[in-house]
Point group: C2
Chain length 459, copies 2
C-alpha cells in the first residue's frame, strides 16, 4: 500500500515536473517570438558596426557596444576578459587573372585569412590542379616547384548536412598552402568551400607550418575554379598561367576582449552553464550568420530568462568570444581563466552554425547511453518546437578548450538547418538581409529551453 | 526447431528488406543531389515562362512546356486532362491612398484574386478597422454601411509552424469581403497574410457569397496596415479616409489542363500513387515556391526512379494540377476522373508548401495507431535525411477531393520548413532566386523515398 502510494507520488511529481517544464519552455518561446530583441540587436551589430575582424576598429567597437548592450539588460555581472589577438589585414583588393596566351581573364579571388602577401608585382606561374593533399604528395617537388597549386576538390553534395561537406573539403584551405610550400610551390589558390556555384571568393583562415615557408594563398570563386579547371583540361600546361596579387599583412598582436554577461545562480552560483558565439567576423561582410546571430542569441537567452522571471539555480553565462576566425584566442582565454579560477562548469553550448531554423543539438564525446537518456528525458519536450534532434557530434571551436580545463563539462553544439550556411559563409554576402527574424528567434528559444532543462535536471 | 528456423528466416528477411530499403533511399537522394534536374527546370519555368495564373498565356505555355518536359523524360504515359478554369485578370496596377485631410499617402495594395473592380473613379470612404469577422458582426450594418472595412488581425507569431498562423488569420481574406458585403460595406482591405513587416501586398483568392453582393477587396502591405491603424488610432473617424482603385475583371472560363506523367506499375498497373503540386501561380511573380517547386519536384521523382532503375510495383503519377490558386478546378477534375474511371488509389502526396528544407510528412485523418505504425516502420529510414517528422495533419488542396472519390486513399502533405514561406507567398518576391538548390533537391529525394516505401510496403 505504502509502496503504491510512493509510486503514485513519484509518478505525480514526475508528471507535474514535466508539465512545469513544458510551460516554462512555452514561455521562453513566446518571449522570443513575441518580444524578441535579438533581430534588432543583430541589425545594429551588422549595420552600425559591420565587419569585426580581430584587431580591427570594428572588433573594438563591437566589444564596447556588446558590453553596453548587456549592461543595459541589467544582467547580474557584465565584464570583459582581456586577450591578445592576431591582427591580420587584407590590404588592397586582390587581383587574379587566368592568363591564356595574350588574354587575361579576371577572376574573383580573396586572400585566405592569415596568408602572406605576394611580391608587390604579384605572382605569375603555371598552374598544377590537384584534388587532394594526397595527390600533391604523389606529384612531389619535381612537378610542384615554382608553380601555383590549385586545390579544386568540390564539396560532396551527397552529405545531408553541409557541415560534413565542409569538414571533408576543408583540409585544402586549412592545410593546403602549408603542404604546397613544402614542395616549393610559388603560391596556392583554393576552390571556395561551398557547394554553391557563385562568383564570390569564400575566405577563411589557413594555417602555416611554423617551421615551413609561408607562401601566399587565396580562395577562388567556384565559378572561376570551374572555368580555370576546364581551361586547363582543354589547353594543358604550359599555355595556361595564373596571376595573383595580394598585399595582406600581419601587424603586431593587439589587446582585445571576450564579453561576458552572467545571471548568477540562486543555488549554485559557482557552477556554470555557458552559451556563446563569436563576436569577431571576417572582414568581407557584416558577419551576420557568422556569427552575429550566435552572439545576439546568447544575450537574448539571458534576456528571456529575466523577462520571464526565470532565476536559474546555476549561473548562466553568455560569452561573446573574440578571435574565433583566425586564432581562437578568446576560446583559449576563457578556458584558461576557468582553470585558473577553478570554476565548476556543467555544460557549454556554442551557437556558430548560422541563425537558421533550429533542428537540434549535438553532444560531444558522450556515450550512447547518455544520449539515449537525454532523448528519453527531453526529446518530447523539444518536439513541439521541432528542435528535437539530439545527436552525437561536435560542440564548437570556442568552447572546445573547456574540455581540457574542466574535464567533467559536457560540450554541446546548437544545430540549425545547414542547407544555406555555406552559400554565404565567409563571403561579402554574409549580411543582415540574409537572416530571417523568426528563424533567429526560434534558435534563441531553443537554446533557452535546453539551458533550462540542464539547469533544472542536470546532465 | 522448425519454428525457430522460421523465426530466424523472418528476422533475416526483415533485416534484409530494411537494408535494401535503406540502400534504395540513399540512391534516390544521391541522384537528387548529384544529378538533380529540378532546379534547372524550375529556373526555366520561372524565367522563361513566368507568372501562370489560370487562363493566362503563361499558364497555357506552362502546360505545353510541362508535357514536353515529361515526354522528354520518357515516362510511360504523359497526357493532359482537360479542365475549364476561371479567367480572372488583375487589370491596371492598383492604387491606394490613406487620405488625411488634404494629404494623400500612397500605400501598397493589390486586388485579392477573384475580386471585382472598383468603379472607374475608385472608392473613397471612411475606414472601420476590425480584428475579426466576429467584431464585424458586433458592429453591424449601422457602423459598416458605406465604409471600407479594414481587416487588420496580425499573424500570431507564437505558432511554431507558420501555416498555422496563416490558417488562423486567413478567414479575413477568404471570407472577410463576403461578410462585410452583408452589412453594406463599400469595399474591403485586408492586412497581408504574413508575419513579415514588408511593403509587398500579399494577394490571394477571396470567396464571395454566390447570393450576396460582390464588393471590391484588396490586400494591403503589413507596413501600410500598421501605418493606417496607427493613424486611425491617433485621428479617429471621420478624419482618415481611404481610397482605392482597381480594374480587375472576370472573363469567360477557358479550357486548360492538368499535366500528368506516369510510370506504370510492374505488378499493379491499375493501382496509383500520386504526387503533385500546382502549375498555376499568382500573376504578381514567378510562382517559384508557390508552386513551381512542387511541380518540378513531382516530375523529378519519376525521373529519379527511372535514373536509378527503380520500377515501382504500383503506378506512380506526377500530376501538375491547374487552378489551385483561384478555383481548385484541376484538383476537382483529377478526382472526378479517378471516380469515373474507377481507379484504385493507394495514396496521394501533395507538395505545395514551398521548396524549403524537408522536415517530414503529415497524414490526413488517420488514426493514432496508423501513425504509430508508420513511425515504427519508417521513421528510422528517414532519419538520416532529417525528414522524419511523420505527424497527423492536412494533405493539400489539390488532392483533397480524391478522398470523396476514392475513400480508401491516404492523403499526405509534404512538410518542408515553414519559416520563410509566408514572407514571399503571393508577392512579387516569389521568384527563382529565393529557392535554394539543395533544399529543393532534398525535398524531391524525400518524397521519392516515401513513395518507394508506400510502393514496397503499402499503407
Amino acid at each position: 500500500m505504502k509502496k503504491t502510494l510512493l509510486f503514485i507520488t513519484f509518478l505525480f511529481t514526475a508528471f507535474t515536473l514535466k508539465a512545469q517544464d513544458s510551460l516554462m519552455i512555452r514561455k521562453f518561446f513566446d518571449e522570443a517570438l513575441v518580444n524578441g530583441q535579438c533581430y534588432e540587436n543583430l541589425r545594429y551589430l551588422c549595420k552600425n558596426i559591420g565587419p569585426r575582424l580581430s584587431g580591427s576598429e570594428g572588433a573594438q567597437k563591437s566589444v564596447v557596444w556588446s558590453k553596453k548592450l548587456m549592461d543595459g539588460y541589467g544582467f547580474d555581472k557584465v565584464y570583459l576578459q582581456e586577450v591578445m589577438v592576431p591582427h591580420w589585414v587584407r590590404g588592397a583588393k586582390e587581383q587574379g587573372y587566368i592568363i591564356d596566351g595574350k588574354t587575361r581573364i579576371p577572376v574573383a579571388i580573396a586572400a585566405l585569412g592569415m596568408s602572406v602577401a605576394t611580391p608587390k608585382e604579384g605572382i605569375t606561374a603555371n598552374v598544377v590542379e590537384v584534388q587532394s593533399l594526397k595527390e600533391l604528395e604523389t606529384l612531389g617537388e619535381s612537378v610542384i616547384k615554382g608553380k601555383i597549386v590549385f586545390f579544386n576538390r568540390a564539396f560532396d553534395p551527397r552529405f545531408i548536412e553541409t557541415g560534413q561537406a565542409y569538414g571533408t573539403a576543408g583540409d585544402q584551405r586549412f592545410a593546403g598552402p602549408a603542404a604546397a610550400a613544402k614542395y616549393g610551390a610559388a603560391g596556392v589558390i583554393v576552390r571556395s568551400l561551398t557547394e554553391a556555384l557563385d562568383n564570390y571568393p569564400h575566405t577563411g583562415a589557413t594555417g602555416y607550418d611554423p617551421k615551413g615557408n609561408n607562401i601566399p594563398a587565396a580562395a577562388i570563386s567556384t565559378i572561376a575554379a570551374n572555368k580555370l579547371s576546364s581551361m586547363l583540361k582543354l589547353r594543358k600546361l604550359p599555355l595556361i598561367k595564373f596571376y595573383f596579387k595580394q598585399s595582406c599583412q600581419h601587424l603586431p598582436d593587439v589587446k582585445s576582449y571576450n564579453v561576458v554577461g552572467e545571471i548568477t545562480g540562486t543555488q549554485y552560483p559557482n557552477k556554470f552553464i555557458t552559451v556563446g558565439g563569436h563576436l569577431d567576423s571576417w572582414d568581407l561582410a557584416e558577419g551576420a550568420h557568422d556569427d552575429g546571430t550566435g552572439v545576439m542569441q546568447s544575450a537574448e537567452i539571458l534576456r528571456i530568462f529575466k523577462a520571464t522571471g526565470y532565476r536559474p539555480k546555476n549561473s548562466v553565462r553568455a560569452v561573446f568570444f573574440m578571435n574565433e576566425e583566425n586564432g581562437h584566442k578568446g576560446g583559449l582565454k576563457y578556458a584558461e581563466l576557468a582553470a585558473t579560477n577553478k570554476e565548476e562548469h556543467i555544460a557549454a553550448i556554442e551557437t556558430d552554425e548560422g541563425g537558421f531554423t533550429p533542428r537540434g543539438f549535438s553532444f560531444e564525446g558522450v556515450s550512447g547511453s547518455f544520449l539515449k537518456e537525454v532523448n528519453q528525458n527531453w526529446k518530447k519536450l523539444l518536439e513541439p518546437y521541432e528542435v528535437d534532434r539530439l545527436v552525437a557530434g561536435g560542440g564548437g571551436t570556442d568552447i572546445g578548450p573547456l574540455k581540457e580545463a574542466v574535464p567533467s563539462i559536457i560540450l554541446i553544439g546548437f544545430r540549425p538547418d545547414s542547407q544555406r550556411y555555406f552559400d554565404i559563409h565567409h563571403t561579402p554576402n554574409d549580411v543582415f538581409e540574409n537572416v530571417n527574424k523568426r528563424e533567429l528567434e526560434l534558435g534563441a528559444g531553443s537554446i533557452a529551453a535546453l539551458i533550462y532543462l540542464i539547469d533544472q535536471h542536470g546532465l
